[in-house]
């Protein structure tokens, strides 16, 4: 029998999926948040056009302080349509602008 640990990427993906779903089942994250994270994971693993989204998310996490801008960014991300490449690009640009405004403020 083959075991997924022989394939580190598959193991990592399955572990992450389980963690995300369990966080939802334990009511630590909402339904919308779970779906966002699962879709994001899928996109990262398949390597299909994340565009500028991942670096933008990294920057956001470093700057996150629970401000109003952070709420807007989160709302934009939760409404993101991952099957639409234009939507990903647009959202990434909006978040980038919000982050630079926040940084200037």
């Amino acid at each position: 029998m083959a075991i997924a640990r022989d394939n580190p990427l598959k193991k990592l993906r399955d572990d992450t999926i389980t963690t995300i779903v369990n966080l939802h089942l334990l009511q630590k994250i909402t339904d919308e948040e779970m779906h966002f994270l699962l879709d994001l994971l899928d996109l990262v693993i398949t390597g299909e056009g994340t565009g500028n989204l991942i670096p933008v998310l990294r920057t956001w996490l470093l700057q996150y302080n629970g401000s109003e801008s952070d709420s807007i960014i989160k709302a934009s991300l939760l409404g993101l349509n991952f099957s639409d490449q234009d939507s990903i690009t647009r959202t990434s640009t909006i978040i980038k602008e919000l982050l630079s405004d926040q940084f200037r403020a």
């Binding site: 083959a2 640990r5 999926i17 389980t18 779970m34 899928d42």
Partner: protein, 454 residues
């Protein structure tokens, strides 16, 4: 029996959870395994209700052409509220992680199936015991007969097998005759003599009139010599069924590339010479005609699978997949002589016989038409023809009409430009030994019934 013994017996003989997990894990990791399990098992074969649900979810994803993965299963299960505890997701992850190799899937499916049959047997014993307890001495014969029937069903018959009782067969006969009677009346009153088809159109009016169309479960064999229209016939049929009648069909080609098949369609649907389409030597108007042809192809039910290393096993697997996902009504194999041998020691005719037998079973099991194209020898004969003829429902030969026959045969002079015959060598449901004159335009790859001169 002591309670401990009973528990042991149940755990050892009644179910095998590890086999169930292995089958499910394999379905999540391999499409071939998914096809095999989808066609062999039902959710009732799983002892664990959780496993039965996972199986159903996996099949549902597969039918919708979504690759069943751990992630998709989680999403699907979550959407319908199936996975509600962390333990359940952990169990599912265990299944997804511990997968088996493709080639072992049949072994594990058999284990799941065997346990399912044992449980049915156990249920039969329980029911029989209950009947025994409440037995009236006058019922003995009846109870034993009922028990025997149930046991026979368990041991001898698989899901698809059935034995018709006399009343069932009589009902079937009544319905069939009634259906034909009504059709005949319609033919006389509504269609004014044009025969309504019983199956899929063949693309030739004269062949439709004799066969009433290709019927679900039919195996059709068409033989032609090299360069004498096997692929043209296949695509002509595909046009009638998938483009004009908008039914879904699967076309397997062992010789041609994707580009070659696409270019052939350009010629067939535009009526422009194939050679000119290949070279791009077209006027603006002709280009528009070709594009209009491709628009029709876009809306059709034609699924093409070019596969130079096609094997009989692969045809079965891919047919099952397309039946589940696209509900195909027909599969065309162009052509069987190019299939790879499963066993190199087999003679050519033995291999052809095996392929044809497998395709007949496939047509019946999936309730669709299978058309196999075969190559005729230079003298017009077919190797292993007798055995193939036994298996098929309709055997056709496509051959050019010899020049002398065109000159001497008075009957042919009643037709406009006949140059090919379709010969009906065997027809299980009607007349055979008939030659239908055709006009085959080699340049345009278009075939049609030769027109009668009025």
């Amino acid at each position: 029996m002591a309670m401990g013994q009973q528990v042991l017996m149940e755990s050892e003989f009644m179910y095998d959870l590890e086999s169930e997990r292995r089958v499910l894990s394999s379905m999540l990791n391999s499409e071939d395994s998914c096809i095999e399990a989808y066609n062999t098992l039902t959710s009732a074969d799983f002892y664990s209700p959780r496993h039965a649900i996972i199986y159903e979810l996996t099949c549902s994803l597969f039918e919708r052409e979504i690759k069943p993965t751990y992630l998709e299963l989680i999403k699907e299960g979550h959407a319908i509220g199936v996975f509600s505890s962390t333990q359940e997701t952990e169990d599912l992850r265990y299944i997804a992680e511990h997968y088996i190799e493709d080639e072992n899937i049949k072994y594990w499916i058999k284990k799941v199936k065997d346990k399912s049959r044992i449980r049915k047997f156990e249920s039969f014993l329980r029911n029989s015991y209950e009947m025994l307890k409440n037995l009236d001495k006058n019922d003995v014969e009846q109870v034993l007969m009922a028990a025997e029937e149930q046991l026979t069903n368990l041991t001898a018959l698989e899901i698809d097998d059935r034995v018709d009782t006399p009343p069932e067969l009589a009902t079937l006969g009544y319905e069939e005759v009634e259906r034909r009677f009504i059709r005949y009346k319609e033919l006389m009153e509504l269609h004014r003599g044009v025969v309504p088809l019983d199956g899929l159109p063949t693309g030739f009016d004269n062949l439709d009139n004799i066969t009433l169309g290709y019927k679900a479960g039919d195996l059709v064999i068409l033989g032609a010599q090299t360069g004498h229209g096997k692929t043209a016939y296949a695509l002509h049929t595909a046009r009638a069924v998938a483009v004009d009648d908008r039914r879904n069909i699967l076309y397997l080609n062992t010789e041609m590339s994707r580009e070659q098949i696409a270019l052939r369609w350009g010629s067939i649907l535009s009526g422009i010479e194939h050679e000119r389409i290949r070279s791009g030597q077209l006027s603006e108007t002709e280009l528009s005609r070709v594009f209009a042809g491709y628009s029709r192809l876009r809306e059709s039910g034609f699924y093409s699978y070019p596969c130079p290393n096609l094997t009989p096993e692969k045809t079965i697997s891919i047919a099952r997949k397309f039946k589940a996902q696209k509900n195909i009504d027909m599969m065309i194999i162009d052509y069987v002589g190019r299939m790879e041998k499963a066993d190199p020691r087999l003679q050519e005719w033995q291999m052809l016989e095996q392929i044809v037998k497998a395709q007949k079973m496939l047509a019946q099991n999936l309730k669709m038409v299978v058309i196999c194209l075969v190559q005729l020898n230079p003298d017009g004969t077919l190797q292993g023809a007798k055995r193939m003829k036994n298996e098929c429902d309709l055997m056709l030969k496509l051959r050019p009409i010899p020049k002398e026959e065109l000159e001497d045969n008075e009957q042919l002079k009643n037709y406009l430009h006949p140059n090919y015959y379709i010969e009906i060598e065997k027809n299980r449901d009607g007349r055979s030994g008939v030659k239908i004159p055709l006009n085959f335009d080699l340049q345009r790859q278009i075939m049609k019934d030769a027109e009668r001169i009025s």
